[in-house]
């Protein structure tokens, strides 16, 4: 079995990170669904119910009176945000595995994913085209999921990849991955998303978060949001190890996201604050 076949084999074996999250996603995909179905699935899961209520009562979401019902909490958060919360609340070990192929310690993948999710939610407010902030959050959470599979195939090769980046023989770390194993974390993530039957919006965000110009027009706003959010997480110090900051900014982001240099400094601060607040709700997964 060659490396690409071995990676494909691992993709086939990778379990879904959160069953309830993906069940809710499937319901939301149907435009004629009712909120009751989402409430039902949420209340069937005690851990999810608790987390949804906790998040709805944080300063970011709560308006006035304390939120005591799932119904009101979901209305405040939005259905897509419930999906994000379900992924956060799941006992999946996915996000907390150390990524040895990236020299990334236990928990760094979780911090990076959560910070990107928070940043995507904040960046979505600056979008020229309106997108759901919950969708942005969930896409941010899942954007690097391919690293959990490709990491083991990159083990022992980090110096080679770092040197390729530093010597300029590759454009960025994504190309260094492709050179080393014939595929990259975004493509592997896309394969996982297809295997799990994620909605196209999320699959494309995972596939194109480093090359947003390649995304289909209808998803570009979301993909540019995740692209920028990923870079913001890295700028803020939350990368996934050796590849941190070794990616380019696509300057066409201005066609989709209106953000000035001054906005950017404030945005970094807001992301830091919101990240700390949400991380306290989901301190560590999978242990």
């Amino acid at each position: 079995m060659n490396v690409l076949e071995a990676i494909a084999d691992r993709v086939e074996q990778e379990p879904i990170p959160s069953r309830v999250a993906f069940d809710i996603l499937r319901i939301i995909e149907d435009e004629n669904h009712s909120l009751k179905e989402v409430i039902q699935l949420t209340t069937n899961d005690a851990a999810l119910t608790t987390e949804v209520l906790k998040l709805a009562n944080t300063a970011t979401y709560r308006r006035g009176e304390p939120v005591s019902t799932v119904n009101r909490a979901i209305l405040l958060l939005g259905e897509m945000m419930v999906v994000g919360v379900a992924i956060c609340a799941s006992s999946s070990i996915v996000f907390n595995c150390p990524l040895n192929g990236y020299e990334s310690a236990d928990g760094e993948m979780w911090d990076h994913s959560l910070r990107t999710a928070v940043a995507a939610r904040v960046v979505s407010r600056f979008g020229k085209k309106r997108i759901s902030s919950g969708l942005a959050f969930t896409a941010g959470l899942l954007h690097d999921i391919g690293k959990t599979v490709i990491s083991e195939f990159l083990e022992g090769r980090t110096s080679e990849l770092v040197n390729a980046c530093e010597e300029g023989t590759v454009a960025d770390y994504l190309e260094a991955e492709r050179k080393a194993v014939g595929t990259d974390h975004a493509e592997v993530g896309y394969k996982l998303a297809c295997k799990w039957s994620l909605p196209d919006s999320l699959s494309v965000a995972i596939r194109d978060h480093h090359v947003p110009a390649r995304a289909e027009e209808e998803y570009k706003s979301l993909v540019y949001t995740v692209h920028l959010a990923d870079l913001i997480a890295m700028i803020g110090g939350a990368g996934t190890g050796v590849d941190s900051l070794a990616y380019s900014l696509d300057d066409h982001y201005e066609d989709w996201i209106q953000i000035t240099k001054d906005d950017f400094a404030l945005l970094l601060m807001n992301v830091e604050d919101e990240f700390i607040s949400i991380k306290n709700l989901f301190p560590k997964q999978g242990t």
Partner: protein
């Protein structure tokens, strides 16, 4: 060995031997290290943003977040730890950026420039800098030896 971690927007000073002062994962953030040979005290500040004017309220709550208010606090804190004024060894690390030829969001560079400016106001300047580029850095200071080490995933560690 006891380790004191300095988070984003925080600062710490110590003159206790056998202590390691560390700050982790500096993206565009900058670590300002201060070493006073006379009092054998050490300070570390983790700056996130260049100017406190963007949010004065936040600067009051957390002065270490910004270069201008943070450097002032670090120097004041060094004085409390025994620094009497005069020579102070300053080292800087961090201030990295993503790969962006247009320097659109170069907060890292702006952080470094603002820190240098604030240090000049105190008649201080850095004797060593490891700043810029596209790498994430962590910094640790061994108080007993006055040794400052920078590390980065995949690149090992080196003395500053």
């Amino acid at each position: 060995m006891k380790i004191v971690y300095v988070g984003v927007g925080e600062y710490a000073t110590s003159n206790t031997g056998g202590v390691l002062v560390k700050t982790l994962a500096l993206g565009s953030c900058v670590a300002v290290v201060a070493l006073d040979r006379v009092s054998r005290s050490v300070g570390l500040l983790h700056v996130a943003l260049p100017e406190s004017s963007i949010n004065p309220k936040r600067a009051e709550e957390r002065p270490g977040m910004f270069a201008d208010t943070g450097v002032d606090k670090l120097i004041a804190s060094m004085r409390s730890a025994g620094y009497q004024g005069g020579e102070l060894i300053i080292k800087l690390a961090g201030g990295a950026s993503i790969m962006d030829p247009n320097n659109t969001f170069n907060i890292g560079k702006r952080n470094v420039l603002s820190i240098r400016k604030c240090l000049w106001r105190h008649k201080l300047g850095a004797v060593a800098e490891d700043v810029g580029g596209n790498i994430s850095r962590s910094v640790s200071i061994d108080i007993s030896q006055g040794k400052v080490t920078v590390s980065s995933p995949g690149r090992g560690e080196w003395l500053l």
